[in-house]
Amino acid sequence: MATLTISELTEIMRECAGEDESVDLTGDIADVDFADLGYDSLALLETAAIIQRRYQIRLDDHTVTEARTPRALVELVNNALAGAAH
């Protein structure tokens, strides 16, 4: 079953929304708020859209906007992937 890792997530974000010069995305950023990483709501929407297309899953509108950190979003995605596998 496919899963999403934090580094795969940051790669997607870098691709679709660039990265903030002052932030090191390869560092320990799993629990840092997206806003502090320089990503706004548009960037998150775009990231969610790419994940949904690439992994062929549906993410609920509300839960995407509630995921405030990379770890939270990765968990959300992996839950959806686990659910889809059944």
């Binding site: 691709e15 679709c16 929304a17 660039g18 990265e19 903030d20 010069e21 320089g38 548009l42 960037a43 929407l45 775009e46 859209a49 949904q52 297309r53």
Partner: protein, 424 residues
Amino acid sequence: MTVPAVVTGIGVVRPTGLGTQQYWSATVAGINGIRRVTRFDPEPYTTKLAGEISGFDPARHLPSRLLPQTDRMTKLALVAAEWALADAGIDPATLPEYAAGVVTASASGGFEFGQRELEHLWSKGPEYVSADQSCAWFYARNPGQLSVRHGMRGPSGVLVADQAGGLDAIAQARRQIRKGISVMVTGGVDSALCPWGWVALLAPGHASREENPGRAYRPFARDADGWVPGEGGAILILESVEAFQRRGGARGYGVVAGYAASFDPPPGSDRPPTLRRAIESALREADVAPHEVDVVFADAAGVPEADRVEAEAIVDVFGPHGVPVTAPKTMTGRLFSGGAPLDVATALLAIRDGIIPPSINVDDAGAYPLDLVVGKARRRPVDVAVVIARGYRGFNSVMVLRGLSSGRRAPEMREGNWNGDSHH
């Protein structure tokens, strides 16, 4: 007495010139920036030449976060604006909260971004349209983005009048200065060099089919066969005299002394075109007589009917061979909303340095009694310049620029000291 508006900063992005110094040297030298299109394969199209900006690496100038979200026209405008603000010595963050605004012109919006998103939609499906599309392509993206980037909360806007819009935007900026805003960022930048933009630009049949860059865009020539599309433009900083003095501004380029706009009667009407009246109104507002004008930057469409109308209007106002006329856009192609702001920047540098840049690829003004500056740049003192800008379907805008060291400047300006010397 209305408040004079001074241009205090210039930022240029155009073929053959990124940055004011580079572009001015290339312009004075008559360097041709038109060449075969490289952005896509031009072979299938009836026009194969363009004024492309080469050597622009957005990643060098802009934060990575902005790059995927914005069309090329926005990237160019952001960089030009940064340069213009630096040139003026202004950091908007240090200004009072609502003291600065942005009004630019646009003609095609972020069309390349739009083409990509349309392609995603139609070849793959709605879920492939990006979250950035909602505001990457629309005409107001540039002022919106500039406002966010530099924290400018004053009145902002976008004017569209094809190639005439650039002057309308500068005039609107001047209006805001007169109403009390301290600093206005203005001008225009356009870039629609993608195949979808290309076929749209070519649709009326006014773009040259010539494949030799030295023979393609030849306004006023007897065998003129159209213009060449280009990308780029200029961002200008406009300030009130008081704001400029208050912050001990180092250098002003000149004053926006006059402006007028008009619209032509419909095709087939027996009423005359209105460009002449617009030129006369602008001169009247500037309190300048035709013989006091040192140079006219022509719209120079290169489309025979348009050339004829423009030449006649110039001759009606200034007399045959009555004023030097030039079209440096022969070196860049037609820049749409960027064209006229770039001409204004060029006019101000002509005033500063006493040099009129040439029009290239033409030997003379063909059948028209115009003193077209061709071959080499012409050195002579320039104090008053007129810029003409015309938009497809009948838009006419005219602007008069005047130097600051002119003995004719308004009384309150004589007290100022404009050339970097200290003043108290």
